[in-house]
């Protein structure tokens, strides 16, 4: 094989290597479907091609793996988006496989970060990944009938493929879905099902994965039994309904198996029935602490499809809202990390206090505290209010970003950073070295605390971030303590951005929406991958349109979900009490993990 042209260094400015198909002439072709980009790779050569792009072309970071069901062509397609951690646009690889026997080689050996994402594609789309070490369902339970995201799979409350449903609009006859279901509630069973004698298999599969039931002891030492402890799904420190099956040797962790899906609420299936605009409020409920930035990512993806322009003022307002959201999120994350470490609720109270103030601004602007549903394709829903809390909004904002927030961040810093207990519980715990951080596709603060200065706002700039002066925060030890510190750093950078926005905002007039607000958005048949640097990491939306009023495929690359891939690895060898600290430092939200 000849040398590949692009080198990892200085790649930030070069376009993705255009010669991949030249180097693998019989395995790789350009994706020439209109509106599509990237390469189609033959399944049997996938591992080879992936290794080459990683080792020779510098695409060391596999961001997202997902599947698309092209039912009408009888094909399943697996879509990979890879990046260089030195920056630049994506390289999209696609592998097609027949729909009725969908098998694709697993990339876990090349990119360990593909692990959970491949399991998800198996669970929801029924694509088998040959060579995957543990190909089990991840969001639904073992034993569930069917693969729900297949286009011909229908949910129990199925009514029609696309909204708005004829019964509801324009007719307006409402009825309860329960009335149409023979069982009177949200269930369906396969035709040959009998209730009697059903043995659930879900739990056994989980424990088998935990390696818990293996024998231990070598016959010479004292024979010890491994102890299996379930943390969650109802546990005060799992940040929601997350479960970890931990097998312990004494107090030391041998193996940790994350179990999720307890909040899997079928975002993607519902999203593919919805119209484009109807999905906007659903994105609020992904990472429900950061609804503004979720909106932003989705708006960007659809704007890519629409080729819409966003007016200047709307861009400024978007950036302001998103950065305030980042501050909220990191405040919350730090408060709850401290909760998990045992400083129960006092630091969180201070953190929540600042968040409440920002939420008030959101409420005055968007109409809701948490579920803002604020951005639209081509702008934002409403301008900032003139008046807020008995004064001008702009005065409030000036005070907020120039005085109040910097002070609050300094307060946290003063009281927490050098606290003896925090230092001894956090330093050197859960260390994630940079190579592993990249290999496991971690994103956001977790990645940057391990010494990889990768921030989508700088690496692949979107919106108007390239106009602002800010630094990509980075820390180098990769332990819980650095993951705490980096959140302080990032808040300070966000404050810097907000200060610049607030400085310029009064001079920027004009519209906040390009064109009229459309309820029925139609986009040409094409695909788009929109990504933003969410407070928890890179949030990506992969949207495929077939020209109709509803997205054909709507997938979310959820940072909380993918960051968890490395959790087991991080916890190995630590004491069981450290698990909650490590988990808290990753900062997950279950709405996004499980979707």
């Amino acid at each position: 094989m000849t040398e590949l042209t692009a080198s990892p260094q200085g790649a930030a400015t070069t376009a993705p290597d255009l010669t991949l198909d030249a180097h693998f002439p019989d395995a790789v072709q350009k994706d020439t479907r209109p509106g599509y980009s990237g390469y189609l790779v033959n399944a049997d050569k996938l591992v080879e091609v992936a290794t080459a792009i990683r080792d020779e072309m510098g695409y060391d970071y596999l961001s997202s793996v997902t599947g698309v069901d092209y039912m009408n062509d009888g094909k399943m397609e697996v879509v990979y988006h890879a990046y260089r951690t030195s920056g630049g646009p994506a390289l999209a690889l696609k592998v097609q496989t027949p729909r009725d026997n969908a098998v694709v080689p697993s990339l876990v050996s090349v990119y360990p970060g593909a692990d959970f994402q491949e399991r998800e594609a198996w669970d929801l789309l029924g694509i088998r990944f040959a060579g995957h070490p543990y190909l089990k369902r991840i969001l639904m339970w073992e034993g569930f009938a069917g693969h729900p995201l297949r286009k011909d799979w229908r949910e129990p409350y199925y009514e029609e493929d696309h909204k708005p449903f004829d019964t509801r609009w324009p007719g307006g006859d409402f009825h309860r879905s329960e009335e149409n279901n023979p069982f009177g509630t949200n269930v369906q069973y396969p035709p040959d099902f009998s209730v009697d004698g059903w043995v659930p298999e879900a739990e056994d599969a989980i424990y088998a994965g935990a390696g818990a039931l293996k024998e231990s002891g070598n016959g010479h030492e004292l024979k010890t039994d491994k102890l299996v402890v379930n943390l969650g799904p109802q546990h005060p420190s799992t940040h929601g309904v997350f479960r970890m099956v931990v097998s312990l040797n004494g107090e030391t962790i041998d193996h940790l198996e994350p179990v999720m899906g307890y909040l899997h609420r079928n975002h993607e299936k519902i999203g593919e029935r919805n119209t484009y605009l109807q999905n906007m409020p659903y994105t609020d409920r992904l990472d429900y602490i950061c609804s503004m930035s979720n909106n932003h990512g989705y708006a960007l993806a659809v704007e890519q499809l629409q080729k819409a322009k966003v007016p200047e003022r709307a861009e400024y307002i978007r950036v302001l809202m998103v950065e305030l959201t980042r501050i909220c999120n990191h405040m919350w994350a730090i408060g709850f990390l401290l909760n998990d470490l045992g400083a129960f609720f006092t630091p969180a109270l201070y953190a929540i206090k600042e968040r409440e103030l920002i939420l008030d601004l959101f409420e005055a602007t968007a109409g809701s505290r948490m579920m803002c549903n604020y951005m639209r394709f081509g702008g934002v829903y409403r301008d900032l209010p003139e008046k807020f809390k008995d004064g001008d909004t702009i005065d409030f904002l000036r005070e907020l970003v120039n005085e109040r927030l910097p002070r609050a961040i300094d307060d946290l810093d003063t009281y927490l950073t050098n606290n003896e207990i925090i230092r001894s519980r956090c330093i050197g715990v859960g260390v994630l070295p940079p190579d592993k951080a990249i290999a496991y596709s971690t994103a956001g603060p977790v990645l940057r605390a391990s010494g990889v200065p990768y921030d989508v706002r700088r690496a692949d700039p979107y919106s108007i971030y390239n106009r602002f002066d800010f630094d990509v925060a980075v820390r180098y030890n990769g332990d819980v303590y650095d993951r705490y510190l980096i959140r302080l750093d990032e808040m300070r950078q966000s404050v810097r951005i907000c200060q610049q926005v607030v400085r310029d905002l009064p001079t920027i007039g004009g519209d906040i929406m390009s064109g009229k607000l459309q309820y029925q958005v139609r986009v040409p048949a094409s695909e788009a991958y929109g990504r933003v640097e969410n407070p928890k990491g890179e949030l990506g939306y992969y949207v495929v349109s077939n020209g109709k009023a509803n997205p054909w495929r709507y997938h979310i690359r959820a940072p909380s979900f993918i960051n968890l891939t490395v959790l087991g690895e991080l916890c190995k060898g630590h004491k069981v009490a450290d698990v909650v600290g490590i988990l808290g430092s990753i900062d997950i939200v279950l709405g996004e993990t499980d979707r």
Binding site: P148, N186, Q188, Y189, P191, G240, M371
Partner: protein, 222 residues
């Protein structure tokens, strides 16, 4: 009305000189008054609504003004289950188990549209159409998410409900143990053991319908 006023309510005259030494009340009143003033919710968040629940507990809205700040992570120590978020099929066995583990008297507050009826995610294949399909609910709080004020209002409604109960009629002082709710099973879809009969009947119907269709299409082909 202050708490002492409430206690003194039962129209039994206390001589003036004893007013400051004696309080006369009914068992019901004092029993309910103490229970309603120390409701301990279970620390148990399901989804987005849980964030608003945490905000309600924080300093701005301050749940402790109503005697509810002691959130217990263990069901054994709690009186009130706030179902704060989407109830999924995968989670509902655990919720039922937690409910069964709570000692009586126990109350359930369904917070938000999801817990009440499935909410925005109702049509989802993994979503239960309301937690009341499985456990009895005392108070529903609408909203998506309900604001902290709304949640407080709901909690006060639970207190009002407690005020109306009488020790003579409450179920947990009747003879015999109270029945546990059978825990749902994760089958090809969620199985509620109480619904087994319905499932059997309907499954048989669907099976005959399916064979009929198969025969029809077979006949059409032939």
């Amino acid at each position: 009305m202050s708490a002492t006023d409430e206690l003194l309510n039962p129209d039994f005259p206390v001589p003036d000189e004893l007013q400051s030494n004696i309080a006369i009340t009914t068992i019901d009143k004092i029993y309910n008054w103490s229970r309603r003033s120390s409701m301990w919710p279970m620390m148990f968040g399901l989804a987005c609504c849980a964030i608003e629940m945490i905000c309600t507990a924080a300093s701005r809205y301050d749940l402790s003004r109503f005697g509810m700040e002691v959130m217990r992570p263990s069901p054994r120590q709690s009186d009130l289950m706030i179902v704060s978020g989407t109830v999924t099929k995968k989670m509902v066995p655990q919720i039922v188990r937690l409910y069964n583990q709570m000692p009586e008297p126990k109350y359930v507050l369904s917070m938000g549209a999801c817990a009440t009826g499935g909410g925005p995610f109702k049509e989802g294949y993994n979503v239960v159409s309301g937690v009341d399909k499985y456990v009895p609910v005392d108070v529903y709080v609408p909203g998506c998410p309900p604001t902290p004020q709304a949640l407080l209002f709901g909690l006060i409604a639970v207190q009002k409900k407690i005020d109306q109960q009488s020790i003579l009629t409450v179920p947990w002082y009747q003879r015999g143990p109270s029945e546990a709710i059978p825990v749902p099973i994760l089958g090809p879809d969620i199985i509620d053991p109480r619904q087994s009969d319905v499932i059997r009947v309907q499954a048989a119907k669907l099976a005959t319908a399916a064979t009929a269709v198969a025969e029809l299409s077979g006949a059409a082909e032939a």
